[in-house]
Chain length 200, copies 2
């Protein structure tokens, strides 16, 4: 058992709840935090509080933002005729790094996953249907959910759901490694996937 | 370049300053923090602030404590005739886990390291000399600095400094792997090292 003072034990416990941080690493981080200046520690704890307080989801697309609309939805130079549907704000950033796609996004915040009890109604999907009615310019929807079982199932579900709208529905080409994670794809692979997108 | 909202960028930057946390890991942690409840995030940021505010060094030995004296210095069942000199509070905890040593500690908060501009005066060492004068019971000083160049040099320095006091000065046996780190030694190795300690 650890025999540290109480507040240090609490800090180690809290750090150990973070993903990928084990007991040894949590101790190492805690002692690092004790060794930095009060100002530096306040910067860290303040950054956590401020991020939680200020960040919300864009009311149009569901991307992360600290205003009402995200900077992509507010950018009038972006194309209005194509929307890329992704699982998470991280995936928006992965797409943006390629600098190929100039349309806008819709962030689902998850995928259909019956095993985890996540159905279509738990996703940011109803707002997409409403959005497509309000934005008649949209001619194409690129389904860029992850290339794994849940991502494929979600793409198929959305393709069926919007079949009768006349909107062209495409899927990123399988240049992406199956079972992988879009967020960590290298930019070249992702570029190939955008270029080779196919009709569903 | 990251194109996240400002407060998220700040959070990722702050997390990325922690040791062993790279850019990808910092992003992963930041998004994790956004996904937990406000209460959980407050627990984390509060634990950082509280640990910084409440923790200080024991006025006797320099160990971490949230009171004036650490729990080991306050424990009247501990032997008063032997002091174990270590580099850090983590090393105190490593020693305590073995349950072999029943004396008290003195924490140097570093080692002599001319390369890093750290000399004897930068360590918690003057207080050890004063402490030995105030505690005539002390018959033995175990030098348990790390088994690497700086730790050995520091042990030699302290041994020379206290040569004329008549106190027995010992060093942990080199069961410890050279170049290693006392904090991460397994308990068996550390036990062997305590048993085999030799006169300097």
């Amino acid at each position: 058992m650890r025999q540290y003072p109480r507040t240090l034990n609490i800090l180690i416990n809290e750090l150990g709840k973070l993903p990928g941080i084990g007991e040894k690493m949590a101790q190492r981080l805690a002692f690092h935090i004790l060794s930095i200046t009060d100002r530096e520690a306040e910067n860290l704890s303040g950054a956590i509080s401020n991020a939680k307080k200020s960040l919300r989801y864009c009311e149009v697309c569901g991307n992360l933002t600290d205003r009402e609309k995200c900077r992509i939805c507010e950018d009038e130079s972006r194309e209005t005729n194509v929307i890329c549907v992704v699982e998470s704000p991280q995936d928006v950033m992965a797409m943006e790094r390629v600098r190929e796609f100039r349309g806008r996004y819709h962030v689902l915040h998850g995928t259909i996953s019956p095993m985890d009890g996540v159905g279509p109604n738990d996703l940011n999907l109803a707002s997409l249907v409403i959005r497509l009615q309000a934005e008649p310019d949209v001619k194409e929807l690129i389904l860029a959910t992850n290339p794994n079982i849940e991502g494929e199932a979600t793409a198929m579900y959305i393709a069926r759901l919007l079949k009768d709208t006349g909107i062209r529905i495409t899927r990123l080409a399988h240049g992406l490694p199956i079972g992988g994670d879009l967020e960590y794809a290298d930019e070249e692979t992702l570029l190939k996937a955008i270029e080779g997108r196919r009709e569903l």
